[in-house]
Point group: C2
Chain length 207, copies 2
């Protein structure tokens, strides 16, 4: 978008507590903003019907995944139950070098890892419409035990505490509005003076 | 727009060197973004045909204008040839308190004065499509003396040096694109975590 054509792309990290609707917002963004590159995660879980390697996920064996961790090939990773999930660093760095904007939709823990490698990333914290709604989503359909609900509440509170590590807070009151806010953030960040001159200190001379 | 409904509006300062097209961009924004309040300047010059007091300008006598300066009623002011121009503080502060976003389209010198009063404002530096274009505009129709052109060049260079005081740099390559960038900046700034929590430190609790 104009000003940064010759510079690196933006790394946009979309995160927030479970139940904020990250996946839904990200799917809508994929349709509305196809010029953005959406990072593909690596996982050790089995492909589901119709899932394609390199499109939905990079499917890896556990041995391969552990090797990637050891060799620093992942920007962030986590283990859920029996499977590993993570973001391959190479794919992200190559797209950024091409000047593409890359969006990662990841958990709060992963976002913290990414921030260590990419402090210049744009960190967006997505929230559900209200705290009441967040708790309702955590409580689910009322089929979970009190203990499970309590654990999830504790986890959500910890995630919410991370808001102060983020650049932006976007409320997902309506998916279309949340997408519009995120797209505005991407456009605005490309005009940030600090970012332009950090990438190209003599930008004004070449202008 | 959602998140900041209960907070103060944004003060957006659109400035940049003479010849950047501030007036043209601002006129286009007025049509596209009528929800934004456009500040009305005070001036001592005579109203032109069709100009309405309180709409195009607040028309003031020189005595009244000097009194406003002395009593701190202007956010910024300057004298051009025989007339004074300035931005009445009260109008801006009242609209901001109502939660409205207010846009000031002013000269670089004035923007510096505003920044002293409103460091939390959003400062946007508008540039023409290229340095070559800027110099062409300064040179004008070639009817000015070399001395006049040289003075204007010196002034433009001083104005360009001020870019580092600004939050955003927007290139006016096309008026429609410049407007879109400015509107994105306004929307994005309303989602900035720092801004939300500065205005409402306990925002998350009330959420």
């Amino acid at each position: 978008m104009g000003i940064q054509k010759s510079g690196k792309g933006l790394l946009i990290v979309l995160s927030g507590p479970s139940g904020a609707g990250k996946g839904t917002v990200c799917s809508a963004l994929r349709r509305q903003a196809p010029e953005v590159v959406y990072s593909v995660s690596a996982t050790t879980r089995q492909p589901r019907e119709g899932e394609v390697d390199g499109i939905n996920y990079f499917f890896k064996s556990k041995e391969e995944f552990k090797r990637m961790i050891e060799e620093g090939e992942l920007l962030e990773w986590a283990r859920y139950v029996d499977n590993y999930y993570g973001t391959p660093r190479r794919f992200v760095e190559d797209r950024l070098a091409e000047g593409k904007n890359v969006l990662l939709e990841i958990e709060v823990q992963g976002a913290r890892q990414v921030k260590e490698h990419f402090p210049e990333g744009v960190f967006i914290f997505l929230l559900p419409p209200s705290m009441k709604e967040l708790y309702a989503r955590i409580r689910g359909r009322g089929t979970e035990s009190e203990e499970v609900v309590e654990d999830r509440m504790t986890a959500a509170r910890k995630e919410l505490d991370q808001v102060h590590q983020y650049d932006y807070v976007v409320v997902n009151d309506e998916v279309a509005k949340a997408c519009q806010r995120i797209r505005s953030i991407m456009m605005a960040e490309q005009s940030r003076r600090e970012r332009i001159f950090r990438e190209q200190p003599d930008w004004l001379e070449g202008f």
